[in-house]
């Protein structure tokens, strides 16, 4: 990684000489040179508390983003001029390099394909044993993808029902989260403190190990068998006997895997049947949508026959 004027500096480094080395300091600092270590100002002390500032000071390139932050160069000239580590030049503008040490985009977005694949396989495999920590990173990327696929297959079979799919998914996620939070055993005080201090996506005021994020994640992943059923519905109308059987099997599969996951994640042992019934209702809602799309009811064929 070519960086102009970048010198790998050891940790304690006088910042003033650092900026002097830099040839590309577009905006000269108008502040007097501060003494050596970066702790002279309170801001500096606060910010430099972690190891970040040292590492940043060391590896922040002297490359100053052109025209980006002139005022800040002045105010925090102490930080070193290598604030924004972007390369300049029109070739770099068309490139994909970013700041120094920036994580890849997918990792920053929280989309972890390895986890997605692992969870999908767990759903698809009816005899898999479910680890209790499988839902610790409750991502919604997989669920969104599956809902979008479901809507797309419904579209391909004749009905533009994305809105209804979305509405049913949202309503179901909220109410199922509420029900299962009520049904799960209450948290002990230690678990409450741990949950509060860690700030998973949002606090959990229903005194349960289930949060809305986790519930939605489980529900979305377990929608996968119904996505397959709706894919089948593109090819043949589901409003027939074989369609009913396929969709019923898909619903049973969804319910089976999601009830297993909920029982593990929500620590509700011995309640699997009671957990499974609301989930079955939820997936029956989706199943109804899959069966009764117009291709499924044969309406399109009927309309064709009329003309």
């Amino acid at each position: 990684m070519a960086s102009y004027g970048y010198q790998p500096n050891p940790a304690p480094q006088p910042q003033s000489s650092y900026s002097a080395q830099n040839n590309l300091n577009f905006y000269q600092s108008s502040y007097p040179q501060q003494p050596v270590s970066g702790h002279s100002t309170p801001f500096q002390a606060a910010y430099g508390a972690g190891t970040q500032s040292n590492a940043y000071g060391a590896s922040g390139t002297a490359n100053y983003g052109f025209g980006a932050f002139p005022a800040q160069a002045g105010a925090s000239g102490q930080m070193g001029t290598g604030q924004s580590g972007l390369r300049t030049g029109w070739l770099a503008a068309f490139g994909t390099e970013g700041y120094e040490g920036e994580p890849p985009l997918l990792e920053e977005l929280g989309v972890n394909f390895g986890h997605i694949q692992m969870k999908t396989l767990t759903v698809l495999n009816p005899v898999a044993r479910i680890d209790q920590n499988i839902m610790d990173d409750a991502d919604l990327a997989g669920p969104f993808l599956f809902c979008a696929l479901f809507g797309t297959f419904l579209l391909l079979s004749g009905k533009l029902w994305f809105g209804y799919v979305c509405g049913l998914a949202a309503l179901g996620a909220f109410s199922l989260n509420f029900i299962f939070s009520m049904m799960s055993p209450p948290l002990s005080q230690d678990e409450m403190n741990a949950a509060q201090s860690q700030h998973y996506g949002g606090s959990n005021h229903l005194s349960s190990t289930l949060t809305l994020g986790r519930s939605s994640s489980v529900l979305g992943y377990c929608l996968l068998p119904l996505v397959f059923a709706s894919l089948l519905g593109v090819l043949l109308p589901l409003d027939s006997l074989i369609g009913y059987i396929v969709v019923s099997l898909a619903i049973a599969w969804c319910t089976y895997s999601s009830s297993a996951m909920f029982c593990v994640v929500g620590r509700m042992t011995n309640m699997r049947g009671l957990v499974a019934y609301p989930l079955a209702l939820f997936y029956v809602g989706f199943g109804i949508m899959a069966i009764f799309s117009s291709r499924g009811t044969g309406r399109i064929d009927a309309m064709k026959a009329e003309t």
Binding site: Q83, S207, N270, M271, P278, F292
Partner: protein, 280 residues
């Protein structure tokens, strides 16, 4: 570790970020407190503390309440957490007491009702997703009206029992079980042509009577007819209980079972003896 771009490293921005975070945290706590004021979460948890055996026996109880003997809810004397040394009596949770009301069955029955009517409408070729919403709203209106009736009755009759609003909500939901049975049986027998015909009305009458009997049994425990209150008031209470259990429930259950979906708009079937026409 992630190195952000320019503006995030500015200490001013950093402080602003921290202030924003703490403001959000304060706001969230405020919302939580108010949320907990409206919905008492721990009390609600009591109603969902059910077990398999409870659900099965309670459902059978709602449908066949004739031979059930002890209708009283069991109580335990537990040490009160707030006062030292004194004990408060609390009702046992549904897990341990069949007579205790729960909210799991009514809620499940409600959702099942919505889905079942939509499914049957779909089997008749009349499905549209708005049906889900319309049925849901209809059933919600029924529940709200019933709660209104109960609340007014409690207000006018000075019934100051310790029944909370949650108990009333729970009891008002049990009729959905009977409604579901009626609709399902009628759909199977009539091949989805509606709840008209003698089969539909017979099942409806039966489930209605069962539900009413069940409610009288439960409510006579909840509104205890003590000997200390005046005779006039006692008879008024019994009248109210009777009227509520039989007449009001009849009206609501009939409303719930008689929705037709001809031409996509729910229309209540008119009068006795008219076959509901759901077909194309």
């Amino acid at each position: 570790m992630p190195q952000f771009g320019g503006f995030m490293n500015d200490p001013t921005a950093q402080m602003g970020l921290q202030m924003g975070q703490s403001a959000m945290k304060v706001g969230q706590e405020y919302v939580e407190q108010n949320f907990n004021r409206y919905i008492n979460v721990s009390a609600l948890k009591h109603y969902f503390n059910v077990s398999n055996r409870y659900v099965l026996s309670k459902t059978l109880l709602v449908l066949f309440p004739w031979r059930h003997r002890p209708w009283s809810r069991s109580q335990t004397n537990t040490a009160s957490p707030s006062h030292n040394g004194s004990t408060t009596t609390q009702f046992l949770p549904p897990r341990e007491d069949v007579n205790s009301p729960d909210m799991y069955i009514p809620l499940m029955a409600f959702i099942t009702y919505v889905l079942l009517t939509t499914l049957i409408a779909g089997l008749n070729g009349k499905f549209e997703p708005q049906l889900l919403g319309m049925t849901f709203s209809n059933a919600s209106v029924v529940i709200i009206l019933e709660l209104l009736v109960l609340w007014l009755g409690r207000y006018f009759l000075n019934i100051s029992s310790e029944s909370q609003i949650y108990d009333l909500v729970a009891y008002s939901g049990y009729k959905f079980v009977g409604v579901i049975v009626t609709i399902a049986v009628a759909a199977i027998v009539n091949r989805g042509k509606g709840t008209g015909g003698w089969v539909g009305w017979t099942v409806f009458a039966y489930t209605f009577m069962a539900n009413a009997f069940f409610l009288v049994g439960e409510k006579s425990q909840k509104y205890p007819i003590q000997s200390t209150i005046a005779r006039g008031q006692r008879s008024r209470r019994t009248q109210f209980l009777f009227v509520y259990s039989y007449v009001v429930q009849f009206a609501f259950m009939w409303w719930l079972t008689a929705l037709n979906f001809t031409s996509g708009v729910p229309v209540v079937a008119g009068g006795k003896g008219i076959k509901g026409r759901w077909g194309r």
